[in-house]
Structure formats: C-alpha cells, structure tokens
Symmetry: C2
Amino acid sequence: MPDERRPTLTDVAIRAGVSKSLVSLVMRDERGASPETRRRVLEAADELGYHPDSRARLLRSGRSRLLGVVFGIQHPFHADLVTGLYSAARETGYELALSAVTPERDESEAIRGLRQDRCEALILLGPHSSAAALTELAARIPVTVLARGLKIEGIDVVRTADATGTAQAVDHVVSLGHRRIAHIDGGRSPGAADRRRGYRSAMKRHGLEPYIWIVPGGLTEEVGAVAARELLNNLPTAVTVFNDRCATGVLDAFTRANVQVPRDISVVGYDDSSLARLAHINLTTIAQDVPTMTRQAITRLVARLEGTAVAGRESVIPPELIIRGTTAPPRT
Amino acid sequence: MPDERRPTLTDVAIRAGVSKSLVSLVMRDERGASPETRRRVLEAADELGYHPDSRARLLRSGRSRLLGVVFGIQHPFHADLVTGLYSAARETGYELALSAVTPERDESEAIRGLRQDRCEALILLGPHSSAAALTELAARIPVTVLARGLKIEGIDVVRTADATGTAQAVDHVVSLGHRRIAHIDGGRSPGAADRRRGYRSAMKRHGLEPYIWIVPGGLTEEVGAVAARELLNNLPTAVTVFNDRCATGVLDAFTRANVQVPRDISVVGYDDSSLARLAHINLTTIAQDVPTMTRQAITRLVARLEGTAVAGRESVIPPELIIRGTTAPPRT
DNA sequence: AGGACGGTCTGGAACGTTCCAGGAGGAGGC
DNA sequence: GCCTCCTCCTGGAACGTTCCAGACCGTCCT
C-alpha cells in the first residue's frame, strides 16, 4: 500500500503560513484565531486532506474522550441500546468504543480490551460479572450499568422500573375485563424478579390474588413454548410474559395448539423489541424507554468525568405500554 | 476519580535500575536482555502495576495493529460473523475495533470513526456503500468485504458460494421426491441474485424447468409472510427461501392458513441463524461457513498488511445443507 | 503620552513510547 | 597482543499532538 505519509499539523501550518500551535487551535475550534486566518487554515487542511491523529492528541492531552461500551452481540435488546448510546453520545463530544461479548469472548476480556484503549469510563449492558469484580473495576474507572439492577458501591445504574412495567400490563388486561391472568417469568435473568413482583402486586391491588399463577419461563422462544403448553391444561384468559422473545414462543405454541390470540387468550410481551413490531406478530408489549435510558447513561457518565455533581446512584425510567394486536376483551 | 498517574516505562526503569530502552525491549519480548535483567524488569513492572500505553506505543511505531470492523447492529447474521472475527483475530496479534451501523448512524460515519482510530485495515460486513465510495476507500486503506459479492478493483471479497447453496437446497428436496419447487427471493439484497440463479440452474439441471416459480420476497419476516400468501393460491410441494428470517415469516403464514409443514409443504431457509435452530422452528437451512469465512478474511488482511502475497481477490466458501424438521417427502 | 489590556500569534517543552547509533566488556581467532 | 565480533545495555531523537509562557500590536483609559 503506497499510502503516502498522512499530513500532519506541521504540513498544514507550512501550507497556511502559520505556526502549528495556531493550526492546533483552529482544529480544536478554540478561540484565539482571527476569522481570516481560521479560514485560511481550514482551507489548507482541507486541501491536504488533513485529519488529526487521535493517538497523538490523546497522548498529549492525557484524555481520550472515549466511552467504552460492553454489550452482548447476540442480544437484540442490546442492539437497541447501542443504537441509542451512539445517538446520545453524538452531542457530547465523546466517542464510543464498542467491545462485544460473544460465546467465545467473555466479559472480562471485553473490559480488558477497552481499558487498554484508554477509555475514560465504561458502560456495561446487562453485565454478568460478579459483584466483586465490578466493585474492583469501579474503583479504577467510572462505571455505569445499564439494564440491570444492582446495588454496588460506586456504580451508577440506569434501568427500567420493571415492576411498574408488568403492573401496567396487568392493568391493561384488567381494564379489558380479564381476571384470570397468568405470568410467565424470566427465572434468574436480569429484571425477572422485579417483573414478577410487579405482576404479583398488581394482581393483589385488583383483588385478583386467587388468580395469581406464575409459570417458570426464561429468555428464549423455546422456554416460552414450553411454558405455554403448561398453560393449555387450564387456559387463563390473559398472560403477561417476561420478554418478547419468550412471548413469541408462547404465541407459536398457542397457534400450533389451535388456540387463537387474542380471541381465546390475550398475550402481553416485554421490551418492544423489533420482533414485537412485526406485522404478523404484532405483540402488545411494554416498551423500555431506550432513548431516555441511554441519554441518562451518557450524561451521567460525562458529568462524572467533568466533575459535575450527579444526583443519586440509580436512575429508574418508567416504561410504557404499547397496545397492539394480541390483547382484546375476553370471550364472554 | 483520584486515579494516581499511571506508571510509565521510566518509572519501571528507575525501579529496576536500568534504562527505559531496556524496559521497552523486555516489554516487547525482544531479544537483547539477559534472563536475569529481564526477570528484574518484569518484577518491577509487576510491582508497579505497569501496563503499556497503547496510544504512545502506536504513535511512535506508526502501527496500530488494529483491524476495523463495520457491521449492522440489527443484523443477526453479522453478530455471528463478528463472533467469528474475534476468534480469528485472537491468534494474529491484531485487535478488532468495532463500529456499528445503526438506523441513525450510517456506514460512512462508521467508517470515518474507524479511520480516525488509525485502523490499518477495514472489514466491511455486507456494506451498502456505493461502488465509487468503496473504490475511493480502498485506495487509502486495505479493505475486505464479507458476505457481499462485488467486483471492485483493490477490494478483497470473502463470500459464500450462494448459487451452490440454493442448488443444494433444491437437490435436497428433489432427492426427497419433490418436483413443484418454488423460490422466494431476496430482491436486491446482498446475495439474492446468486441464490436466485442457483435455484434456477438447479431446477434446469433436474429437468424441472417448467416448474420454476420465483416469488418476490426480501429480508424480513413480513415480506416472507406476504410471499407465502401468494403461494397459497397454487401451493407447490416445496419452497426454498432467501433467508431464515424470511422463512420464519413463511412458516408463520402457513401455520395461520392451516397448511402444515412439512406434511403439506417443505421449506428450506438460508443462513442457519440462531432462529433456524430454535426447537419450535427447527428449520432445514443452508449454513454459511462462518468460521472459515472469518478466518479467511482476517488472514487475507493480515497477509496484505505484512506484505505477504495473497492469492486472488475473491474467496468463495462452499455452504452446507443442514437438514432439520421442515423438509420431508411430498404427500403422495 | 504612558500604561494596561485583549486579541493574535509563535516557539518550544512536554506526553510515553520505539528506534537507532553506539559503548562497554568479554570471548575467540590470528 | 591486537582485532573482531558478539551480547547486553544506554542515551537521545523521533512520532504528532497540546499546553504554556510570552511576543507583538493595536485600542482604550486616564
């Protein structure tokens, strides 16, 4: 690759007939250069195709303006979060550095990579690391955890009010006239406990305690289908499900068993993943407020880095009910 | 964050009582230091918790040993590819830098980010950029395109033999006894043209030219469902579908129309995505050989960077038929 | 008229590394 | 004994930035 040497500050400076310090100023959009010179410098830079070398810049300034993001590449909801994070970071002057967790690359490796790149702070999406590991990490670098509720000294958490979410789901089907409402839970997955709790207390609030029925479920379509088959023995009129993937499995099992949704049973998912929005699934679901969550995560971290005060350790975002086609009044 | 200044080469040098050049040697595992000194240096580094500063290192050496990867974060198959790339890169001494394409962050922005990080080469997964943009890019930096066949001067391509893939699908159902075999295509998506061609020529080879029936489809479940409804008017006994997502939509539409798979019709997908592997979908499909593809992409790029000769511009990997539960002999 | 000041601009010293030229000291060949 | 050649080590110059101190030059105030 006969790639000629990249142009540097000095090249631009010579071409524009000024010192490199001045060019540096202009490139950083600092004040201290007359409009006229500024124009000349930018012109010269443009002609040479100059692009600042971030490494040298970072080396000198001691800052990287880099936020590390650890996410699960197989996880659809993480994709939504990363999308939101990019948008949120755009306005702050910080860049995102992605590091994926894959079946063959664990979280600690992903974190190590980011630290070597001199990220100034870390955002972890639904991390699996032990509390001990996280505590140690947080002692060395600011950390924000997204989409997983945990209480650890020194770690910021931004999460959805999961209990409220399932409560909204229950309220919705109750308002349609349902009473026999089951819940397929998420086992030990992040958020599952809260969602279960929200279901239980909403049922009590509506005086439906006798109808409480919690079926073990999980993260995936497969366990959803299994759980649905368990419901078939004594079909409730509505069911709230841990997440959309699981709900898809539920829908599939019902279809195969010739149970029609929403005629025979109403189904509510959770996440508002792209899955739920598909026309042929068209799932009523609880949307996590991704834009708000990601914006909060970024502004929180930036505030910490710049030394601005940050209120509290935890930020809990209310979710929103999205009504689509899988809920309807019960058959009379 | 009262993070004390990181220790530097000089700190280690002082502690070990040697020059910083010597420490540098030892850290890079070069020869030129006696075993005894080497030990002392490593010990000192360890005590101080020294970690080399990659920025400074790269600045000086002019190399980053960084391979940029541009991928679509919403794209399940890209997730598989990224997983493979990480594994393939592990042994080479190069690191991966990820840059995602999201609905709000286009390919050119993703590429710009990577170039600013001084990646030495780029891997693009199913890029959408124009041929002109890619040509210009390839003139500045080595580029390998994965999972999209295109012929552009100076760009390496690693892709699946897509025509062979659909041919395998057709061969499979023909061997089961099918003759009326339709194809739901992928429109203008990457690989769609080849897959369509493979279907067509395989049908001819089996003397089934009169039965050729190509229905317009696309990437998603929704278009799959639409295409399936078109088939219902004159149901063939088997159908090969552009990809797994689309095939899932097809399956769903059939289930709703009370057409049983594989009893009434056999369905073959493409990609062997995690979707296909789900128990309740259990889709017969064509697997792209991700480990081989990603290994090739990495070794190719590394070879170019190191100046080793690379054979040809294109590397075409044969796919593999995965037989699951959606294909069976036609009803007699 | 004599400062003081604010806006422009410059030169040079960092930042933490790698690379290069070379020095000290011992071993081996003649 | 001298030259040569290793091996092990050192000092200092890069790399492309940013940061700091200060120079220059008008303007404005007193």
